[in-house]
Symmetry: C2
Subunit: 271 residues, 2 copies
């Protein structure tokens, strides 16, 4: 991440999908508060979704929670991500929210466009960027495009693609417990063990601040996979379908209120 | 790439593999000259290769071409990439050369280690980093780990993984003409069209300077795929095995002496 933005950049907030939208809405509430509460100006990007009402649904949620202004930016083809009108929606925004759906819609519609640059700029100047499910996957430099379920890392069972690039410190997987994704996240890390893996359950978010300390918010668990001390990955000699050997992976499972320092690799459980 | 390094950083030099090692050795000669000729201090990293003599072979080549000092850094497991001795070999180096073999050996042995950080630091302070074949694939932020041959982009036919991260402006493919890799490079770009694709034939290199202008050196061709103006990629709706639709891809084929400005997207043919 460019040094010039490290002083002012906003939070990166991946959410594991299916977050509570009708009860206490702990994650959305925290997001709106962070974005300024009554002064929050939020842009919702429902591009990942194929449903027509996704944007409006989030508009209602954030408005109910007190946001001053909620803009919905519909981008249904690449050309839409170049217009002055689209770029103008980000003016003065304090938060950006990317919905769920298919992360490849986000990467193929937004990748390399002025809107993608605009999101990175807003984030660098302090806007907080949240994404749920597909939106969470898309946020980092390396995203999981798709993959197979299961507990064990298996060669060829995950497909990585370039993401938006707000951080290159983590690879995120979502619906983690619900869709049994330990194996595919381990597989993703086995290629090049330089990032942390974040496995987010549904209704669970990681609020990552500019010092790269994350806080867990929500009703589920966050699995952190730390491969900093990895001694061995067999990915270079594995054939498709082979179980991938990994030696010395460190794991944390954290819940609401816990924190994790991605820089110094220190976990502090919630109470 | 961090702004702080842009003033001093060295060349990034991906080579398409099988470069001439016994004749005029145009690519190696140019590399040694760039690294200071008689003052060149080069570190060879043969990690990608399983052959015992790969490092020595390059030591002989670079020594023959006049380099002052050539160190071979053997890294055959992750622990080797942490030692003070390994890090010390980079002291004062003006060039780093990563050999061919399997790029997953590079990413699994070096990824996240102090040696990987050391290479990035050397590059940021001005050392030139070259890589051939697997070494070329590994240099960028997004690398092609493996994939299927063929002319046409097909969903699921390429596997991307995180690379060393010296640049996030290009995805490199090597042995391009010889192994018929147009399809897999297009597939890689179809996920998120924000980078250029560089398809390097054997005995062909792209010397990319710090202003992000590349020059073609060698006997083969360089295919540049520019997706900046892409109107459509069907990757989000493609099933495995489907041909991926792409609308408005720009292509250049360049040979020795040609240049391409990655920032301004201007190609100038060689004579």
């Amino acid at each position: 991440m460019p040094a010039r933005s490290s002083e002012t950049r906003g939070y990166v907030i991946p959410i594991g999908g299916a977050e509570d939208k009708i009860g206490h809405r702990r994650i959305h509430r925290r997001f709106v508060d962070l974005c300024g509460g009554d002064d929050a100006r939020i842009v919702v990007i429902p591009t990942a979704s194929r449903l027509d009402d996704t944007g409006d649904r989030y508009r209602t949620i954030f408005t109910d929670l007190g946001a001053a202004k909620v803009e919905v930016l519909e981008i249904s083809e690449r050309k839409c991500a170049e217009s002055e009108e689209a770029l103008g929606k980000f003016e003065g925004c304090t938060g950006i929210f990317m919905t769920g759906g298919n992360q490849l819609r986000l990467s193929t519609f937004l990748g390399g466009t002025p809107v993608a640059t605009q999101i990175r700029r807003c984030h660098a100047r302090g806007a907080h960027v949240a994404g749920t499910s597909a939106g969470a996957a898309f946020m980092s430099e390396h995203m999981i495009a798709f993959g197979k379920e299961g507990p064990r890392p298996v060669a060829g069972k995950v497909t990585l693609a370039p993401g938006l690039g707000l951080t290159n410190r983590v690879i995120v997987d979502q619906h983690f417990r619900q869709r049994n994704r330990m194996g595919r996240l381990l597989t993703a890390l086995a290629y090049n063990p330089f990032v942390h893996g974040l496995g987010l359950d549904e209704d669970t978010a990681a609020f990552i601040n500019k010092e790269r300390v994350l806080e867990v918010v929500g009703s589920g668990g966050l699995t952190i996979i730390d491969v900093h001390d990895l001694d061995y990955s067999s990915m270079a000699r594995a054939d498709e379908g082979d179980v991938v050997q990994l030696v010395n992976v460190k794991l944390h499972v954290l819940t609401h209120g816990a924190t994790y320092d991605l820089q110094n690799r220190v976990a502090t459980p919630g109470r």
